[in-house]
């Protein structure tokens, strides 16, 4: 999953909709992100390609909104509410996720198991 400038991006993604949880004055999603174009990609324990500067989910609080919505640790976030997350700085990503007046975030995430799942379904014969 590396980024080559100028080449189109293709991935198998899953749509995850997370409802933010109000905790006092804060709206919380219940997960942690890591990565960004201003970060060192070699330290990302979840990426297959160590040059991938995308935004990855590094922790999901159990029972939190993200966990409930189906976000998994190690997922790479491609879009947040339509905003691209593949070429953003860490802070930009955080800001897009924590907008005060938005109560729902719709993410497009990708992970390796999705590709494998589609690959397997492709190789199987179609419905009889």
């Amino acid at each position: 999953m590396s980024f080559v400038p100028g080449q189109p991006v293709t991935a198998v993604v899953e749509r995850i909709e997370i409802q933010k949880l109000s905790q006092g004055p804060n709206l919380v999603l219940g997960f942690c992100i890591g990565g960004g174009i201003d970060q060192d990609p070699g330290q990302n324990p979840f990426s297959d390609d160590k040059a991938d500067k995308g935004i990855y989910v590094t922790r999901v609080s159990p029972g939190g909104p993200a966990d409930v919505a189906g976000l998994k640790i190690g997922d790479k976030i491609m879009q947040v509410n339509g905003w691209d997350m593949t070429v953003v700085t860490h802070d930009q990503a955080r800001k897009k996720l924590t907008k005060k007046n938005e109560h729902v975030v719709r993410l497009l995430v990708t992970r390796k198991t999705l590709e494998e799942a589609v690959k397997q379904s492709m190789s199987r014969p179609g419905p009889s």
Binding site: S2, V4, Q7, V9, T10, A11, V12, V13, E14, R15, Q19, L21, Q23, N26, V28, F31, C32, I33, G34, G35, G36, D40, G42, Q43, P45, F46, D48, D49, A51, R59, V60, S61, P62, G63, G64, P65, D67, V68, A69, G70, K72, I73, M78, H90, A93, R94, L97, L108, T113, E115, E116, A117, V118, K119, Q120, S121, M122, G126, P127, S128
Partner: protein, 693 residues
Amino acid sequence: MFCRNQTARATVARGSALEMEIRRGKFRKSLFTDTSQDSDIQKKIDHEIRMRDGACKLLAACSQRDQALEAAKSLQTCSTRIMAYMSELQRMKEAQVMQNIPRRSSDVGPMDDRLPCKGKVAISDLRIPLMWKDTEYFKNKGELHRCAVFCLLHLGGEIFDTDMVIVDRTLTDICFDNPIIFSDAGPGFQLHVELYSCCFEEDYSTGSTPRKLASKLSSSLGRSAGKKLRAAMETGPGSPVSNGGASPLLLPVPSVQGPKYHLLAHTTLSLSHVQDSFRTHDLTISGNEECSYWLPLYGSMCCRLAAQPNCMTQRMMSGWLKVRQCGGDPQSWSKVFAVLQGTSLFCYHRQEDVETNIEPVFTIGINKETRIRASEKDPHSKAQNICISNQYGGEEVTHTLTTESREDTHRWMEAFWQHFYDMSQWRQCCDDVMKIELPSPRKPAPITPKQGSLYHEMVIESSDDLSSTVSDILAQRMQELELRSQLGTSPTWMSLFEENLPKSGAFTRQYSPRLSGLSPSSPRGRPRSPLSYQRCPQLGLLSSDASLTSDSDSHCSSPCSHRYGWPEPSSNLSLLSSSPSRLRPRTLSLDAKLSTLRGKGYGSTLQCPCQPPPSSLLAPLPMSSRPPRSPRGAQTTLSCSSSTSSNSSSNSEGNHSPESSEGVAFSRPSPVRRSLRNLRARLDPRNWLQSHV
């Protein structure tokens, strides 16, 4: 020093005794001329030498570490191949020389030795589990110790290498998925599997640092860092040149700078390891913890070793026969075209039927239990009859064959004997034809800028245009689904959603219709069908030119999807747990829901052993079909804890230790502390920031 005879292609050292003798005419040069086999090998050697030179040049020229590793891998493979071919050539020359020397007749072995047929051997899904220490696995500070590994597979005259994989402590297994097929292997084959590794340090540029500075640095850096630097330095010009000592005619191996691979583990597989499923084999590990290229291997290797002997896949013998079943009418001879292949003798009416895949008229089984004998001379026919007896259940069924002439009978008997011999040699491979899948086109190296796709490419065989093929397939399935729904019969997986259909009517407004075939921009212009079943995690293809979305059930299929009880809009939470109860009350408050979900435990959701419905886009959890995993367990849970325990200092927002999980999970520190920590964390270039959102 070496003079290569262009015409005869025999390399003779100039000034050697042999050359002198040839000059004097004592030996005929033709003794050393190559046969066609030798020239084949010579060509291969030349080819490999050219490849090796190219790899050396590339190694010297490339600056990026990954390219250097790939080049070093090619170099290693080429060198191994050259040595193998050289030794093969040597053996052939020796055999020739031995033949030409007149021998006593008693030395000559039996000439009519039967040779077993050759076959294809395929090894696939190689997986080598790693065994990291707890402390290693959880620590996230400091640089990641990484190694580049690949496997060399050597059978007979063929040597293949796998792709290179970078391994660090976040990986639990080293996987090489691509199948590697060796054609032309005999039943006594020896498949050598060797694992090479090289440590991968990006921080130290080996070539440019002068030695003095390097030693100063290594003493001033910490002990482990210095050790690593010294190890990295060792791959520089100081590395010893190993010649292998194979053949005296070998050209000296060029000494190159750059990464050098070392043998980490090896094993040998043979016919007894062949099976149609995954098996675990032991590895012999060389090297110890002090080596820079060390990886903590568990000590075993899983793979699927399959073999297809030619007697199972090819037609060994075919011809016209007259067949009569014993116990039937003695005059009822049926003339058939018979083909001996695999475990049966197929009998067709006409010769053309074989090609056109028409079912044979009948089939006679030929397996280990079959008995074949030539019967006594039949007074009616000119040739001998062949009787084939099989045991079907408790009964013995005998077929009698007869041919046109004596030679034919003899050839058929010969074929049967050869077939039995092959089956006895290949043993378990002849019970059934083992499936060997063709290797998919290799995944391109991730950093190469020429490649088109950014993320992992979905390998769909015989397809160049990824998105259109996938969209074609998906569109096809969508079409089928729509047709079916119009007809009233739903696909099998629709029944998953039938339960919830009546409830969902009110909620369709929130989500666009499930089946939104291709994007509006596509020429097909499929109408959006307003099927209103439950929302499920939608697998979609995201591409920059067309956004294609299609619904399908992702990991947990069938019983798990009954979890979608829609809550009231007020609670606003979409639940995805795999709770078995279908009748979720619709007006639970949020807190109650969270506590019930928490109680059920989320660890189990990931490992639902679901049976996928047989049709269309549903795909099972890949985990359930995997071969035995390493003892470390699911990788995700461990890496989750590792990142929290260590990154607490560099979190820009929120400080979460695993102990203070539940209650404190959503809390945030005070603004003042947060901004200070923010600043410090952000300004530190070595960190990989994590933010809590």
